[in-house]
Symmetry: C2
Subunit: 293 residues, 2 copies
């Protein structure tokens, strides 16, 4: 999906977050924001939001003294999730439909998104966890269950640090398939990289690959050929989060998207109101519009 | 108070609101936002937020086909407030302390601020009204009561359309003084102008003047000499809303500020957490910091 003018205030806020976390003085911060606003003044609205965001954050990292401004946020979210996940795992195992429950909690984890909001703390996560077990999922859960059950190979595209622990709970339900878990190829916003997958112990239950790209989504042309091969060959592709939806919603192959709608642009594009737990499915060659009708 | 880098995402959002309400096509909208981002890239952080906002919105109005992009929003807020105010007036009159209660409702009306948020509907106002009558007010209400009771002349600086109806309820309590009510000299964001004061019937209980300026606050150097004379001579000056606080908090004369904290920049500067009902008071020559200690 193409970006919207409405993405611009959000990009400014995202960039400001990165600048505030990393720059050493008010003067440096002001200079960096001067650059960001100049870049955004000339942004190409025909690209996807992750493509625009990729350029802004890559340029910012070049000007900042760190190549990973969000490292401490990501570690904090990993620690928060690590503390929560054992009890949730037990709850999932004891439920009457562990697969469905694991889908719900995987989507709940999608709240940990510093692209959509500038701070995510315990309060935000607890609030979502309160109602997680009864959240309706908008999408064909039976088609998803069947696809997962019948798959020999599954590619699971992760989204954010912290969230990735919740993804682990869903991957634990995919006992019949060989699961490959993809992370970003380099740090961008709070998106998960290899170290986050390892922190979540996901190397114990899946093969970890990185996609070779520093976009906060999955821009196939920017990914490694090895990643693209696995993407094309997997029986089932699961794409987690808004960034992966934004960058892959026009791809022709069958994909299951799991995300929580957290911004008005996605809400308008997908047709789901803010806060919805979405399981979007597009079959081979079908458009997302057809998939919803 | 000086603006903060944190004001920039908010300015971008404000400008986007104005552009979306007025521009005729995506191309025009994109061109306008290109200009806004260029202006903001070079914004002077040593000015107050209303001074920066004044320039952006003035330039925008020059490029837009309307000199009042927020006119329909302002009329809607006036209508919403007009429907609410009669019942609130009765409630104030029946309360044990009508003056205190009127202060609470005047501050409640400050929620109608399209500078701080992009949409204010019935839901937002009702939510605030639910708890209005028990809101603690952070400030010396007795000093304010005494100043108002002893004043012969009061200058009341209004903030926004819609909100101005709630200001009317407080002005009705100022029976011993001649009240002059000041509005902006020209449309900017959803700030009240003369027509809004008239829509609220405030010309029946106060003398209406405009301040001669199109800033969303009160920048004295930009106001008319007639306004400045009244500002200097009034026994009591009451300044409503964040914009008036931002632009007048460093002025030497005694001012009572009434506002609800609605943004983190104001929250940090004033020391009050978000959502607080503030009655800030600075005596002649006293700094705001001394006033709080």
């Amino acid at each position: 999906m193409k970006m919207s003018l409405d993405c611009i205030p959000c990009f400014v806020r995202q960039a400001m977050d990165a600048v505030k976390m990393s720059a050493s003085s008010d003067e440096v911060r002001q200079n960096l924001m001067h650059n960001v606003l100049q870049w955004l003044a000339d942004v190409d609205l025909n690209q996807t939001p992750p493509a625009a965001s990729q350029i802004i954050h890559r340029r910012l990292r070049e000007l900042l003294s760190t190549d990973d401004p969000y490292r401490s946020s990501k570690s904090m979210h990993n620690e928060m999730a690590a503390a929560l996940v054992p009890a949730i795992r037990k709850y999932i195992e004891l439920s009457s439909d562990p697969f469905l429950m694991a889908v719900r909690y995987a989507i709940t984890g999608n709240i940990i998104d510093l692209g959509a909001k500038n701070k995510i703390g315990y309060g935000d996560i607890y609030e979502d966890l309160q109602n997680a077990s009864i959240q309706p999922i908008f999408g064909d859960i039976e088609a998803f269950r069947k696809a997962v059950l019948n798959a020999e190979t599954i590619l699971y595209l992760t989204d954010n640090a912290g969230e990735i622990f919740f993804d682990g709970l869903l991957i634990e339900q995919m006992k019949n398939a060989r699961v490959t878990l993809a992370v970003r190829g380099a740090p961008v916003i709070n998106d998960a990289t290899r170290s986050d997958a390892q922190a979540a112990g996901l190397d114990q239950i899946a093969a970890i690959i990185d996609n070779g790209s520093d976009a906060p989504g999955t821009i196939l042309d920017d990914c490694s050929s090895e990643f693209r091969r696995i993407f094309n060959e997997a029986d089932v592709v699961i794409a987690k989060g808004q960034g992966n939806f934004e960058s892959l919603s026009d791809e022709p192959r069958e994909i299951f998207f799991l995300y929580k709608t957290k911004c008005p642009v996605i809400s308008r594009h997908s047709g789901f109101c803010m806060g919805t737990y979405v399981l979007a499915h597009r079959s081979h060659g079908q458009s997302m519009l057809e998939a919803r009708s």
